[in-house]
Symmetry: C2
Subunit: 457 residues, 2 copies
């Protein structure tokens, strides 16, 4: 008997789940229908800054697999179809064809919720004015690129100083704009501790970016033509020919909430290890609309990141297909690049450790990502947190230049393995002068953290 898998959302999680389920179960056995309210499937939202900045020439390069390619594998992709209601007890959902407005009920045997995240967009005066751009969807990217091409001004204001904010700052610099980042935190990159965020701030300023912290945006001022002309924050006005919003995202769980599915403290769906929604045998969820277990703190978090979304999709697809796969959780790794600055983090910041009830020591060191005697050996700063008493690694933050960022993976694996900083001091890491000083900076940080653990007892 044919079973029916219905997937809500056609990006990373949804289409990975579809493709993986299809690998396990052929078309006559499993019918797969995907409802996607947008125009595209399987695209890299993370790539939008590189498209805007001109590294990537065409939109379609960001599309890993088109609807046609999915359809050729027997996946019924329905674009511009928004799911507007979920009837869990009835095992069905109501979708609306956005072109015609026609609504239809469809039944499912298995349901995957892959509704992603929604950009934070506070209800400020002027926020919907022409000239104010999000960078969440390919449509957003197209609109921004068109605006940049048409625009004559040269001043850009980026609201928000997270990953998207700083990556967009680079993109706008590459387009020849004078860039101001206005953000509400003490330092940019609030995913880092403030002392490390200050290094990012200094580096951004070194690139010619004006960085304005402690300044929540209160208004977007418009000109006589109705277009955005300035951002107002903390009582000051920052003139803008273009405004880019990068204020973070929240899980898009409107549909799930209305259907009574379990949500966590961060508004994301709660799942078990197999990515099945808690308490619902045939409903699965993954990607930016779920919360994940933080393996370091033992608490749940919301992390919108393509790499998790893809893993979730694979796992869901395998499980629906009759295989077996689980997602153990995350350690909170993230990396970003702004011009030649590399910024990375994994595990807990100081405030995360405190929130988790963990006492900790910190160690911060400066080193280089190549042997110091090589010309222009790139500088890097590593901050490490270790649990007091046990010495368990709790987190690492890195700010540096070429070769710095991906070193965070060393710590990501060590966190997964619950290593102590003592264990880390003897890790057998790759050494050769073009890659590392004889003591890798991560090892130098570990040695200092060991001493700090010893001092605190």
């Amino acid at each position: 008997m044919t079973e029916r898998l219905v997937i809500v959302g056609g990006d990373a999680t949804g289409m990975s789940a579809a493709a993986q389920a299809r690998r396990f179960r052929e078309a006559p056995d499993l019918e797969i229908v995907v409802f996607e309210r947008g125009h595209f499937t399987s695209y890299s939202a993370c790539g939008i800054p590189y498209w805007v900045g001109g590294h990537v020439r065409e939109r379609d390069q960001l599309i890993a697999r088109t609807p046609e390619e999915h359809r050729a594998r027997g996946i019924d992709v329905r674009l511009r179809s928004e799911v507007v209601e979920l009837d869990v007890s009835g095992g069905r959902l109501r979708s609306r064809d956005l072109a015609t407005g026609v609504e239809t009920w469809s039944g499912y045997d298995h349901l995957v919720l892959a509704t992603g995240a929604r950009p934070i967009r506070p209800g400020l005066a002027g926020i919907d004015a022409p000239g104010v751009h999000g960078v969440q969807t390919l449509g957003d990217g197209e609109a921004l690129i068109a605006a940049l091409a048409a625009g004559t001004g040269r001043r850009a204001v980026v609201v928000g100083a997270g990953y998207i904010g700083v990556e967009m700052a680079e993109a706008l610099i590459r387009r020849g704009y004078e860039v101001t980042i206005v953000h509400s935190g003490a330092q940019p990159m609030s995913t880092l501790d403030p002392d490390m965020g200050a290094l990012v701030r200094d580096a951004l300023r070194g690139m010619g970016v004006t960085v304005v912290g402690d300044s929540a945006v209160t208004e977007i001022r418009t000109g006589d033509d109705g277009r955005a002309r300035a951002v107002v924050a903390a009582g000051r006005e920052y003139p803008a020919d273009v405004v880019v919003l990068g204020m973070g995202v929240v899980p898009e769980t409107t549909l799930a909430a209305a259907a009574g599915l379990p949500l966590g403290a961060h508004g994301g769906l709660l799942t078990d290890s197999a990515m099945r929604v808690i308490g619902h045998e045939n409903i699965w969820a993954g990607g930016d609309c779920v919360e994940v277990l933080d393996l370091v703190s033992g608490m749940h978090r919301h992390i919108a990141l393509g790499t998790h979304a893809n893993k979730h999709g694979q796992i869901i697809g395998a499980n629906i297909g009759g295989g077996y796969a689980t997602f153990p959780g995350v350690v909170g790794t993230a990396v970003s690049k702004v011009c030649d600055l590399e910024v990375a983090r994994t595990g807990l910041r100081e405030k995360d450790a405190r929130a988790a009830g963990l006492q900790y020591v910190t160690a911060t060191i400066e080193s280089t990502s190549r042997a110091g005697y090589l010309p222009d050996a790139p500088l890097m700063t590593v901050k490490m947190l270790a649990e007091r008493l046990t010495g368990r690694l709790l987190g690492v933050q890195i700010v540096g230049r070429e070769g710095a960022g991906k070193r965070v993976d060393i710590a990501a694996v060590a966190l997964t393995a619950r290593m102590t900083v003592v264990q880390m001091t003897t890790l057998d890491l790759g050494y050769a002068p073009p890659f590392s000083p004889v003591w890798d900076p991560v090892l130098v940080a570990a040695r200092k953290a060991v001493r700090a653990v010893g001092e605190r007892g």
Copy 2:
């Protein structure tokens, strides 16, 4: 009462041990004497190819700490003093002043053997001719640089295709030489499996290097002036204006062997976890003259690498100083760069796994070290070995371009933690388009390895 620490060898292990012991114990409490037969202390032999190639301008940039700097910390460094006999039962050793020939006996309370490794230099006709160069010591580097500066020819032959051989090939290319690598193995980089070595061979050829495998050198032919003019291997002659030997090294344990200290199957000293020579309470050894435990195979290996030598020195110094530190072993990580080619390995090759009695599966994948949609996303190949049945990670080899090499650290930490390839598939590695595809190549390899383990059962 003053104790006396005597150290044989003034490079990485010896001077690290001295410096660390001094941090723990002040001068009146611990006298520290170092015998070094050369002219220098604490230098980076690994940096010699970069000095020859012109990345590093001056010899002294490779010297991390001069004898004078060590002396200023109360370490009695005696240069050009060779230890020629060790009397273990008497707790003393005999040294020779190489300038005067005067020999002296010195007693010790603690002894550190840090005698390093000796380059393999087969007794071939012509091997001692002018124009044949080793690259082991700073003196070797100086002699080679002088020869290159004075030479008028443009043909270089490198004997050996290990790390030093390929790094020297790059250096000689940078000096404008036509480079031929002659080596005895089927493929260059015998620290990799042959299938991965073949990728290195192809890349070297792409750089214009002539690579001649399966060709053991039998003679260095000299001209009428007595200088080397060709290398003969497998019956063929390779004209050479300069010959560089990079045939590997063996532990320098002549002194230790004569004194009856325990040596392993590879000729290196055997120590306990604290780096104390087995059965000798007050004799320590580390660096290139010892064997180390391979944590993956459970067997002992000889690995001459500055990063281990430095760790050993720190550990020995701490233990002599009354602290406590241990060296758990290695997983066999190494990384190298030839022009823009990055080559890395960790854990076991296929033949190592067989020698250790381990049954394994392999998985090889091609990917990129950045998101594939970015321009010129650098290609990389990852080969992974996993134990049959258990799925434990056994080894990883990487050949690729920018961003490929240091990814081996992910596997190095995973090997240390004895992770399975299933566990590796969900590692939370740093993702952003300039750093990685959404599935890091190491994860892609792990997924393929999982399937291979499943197939073999």
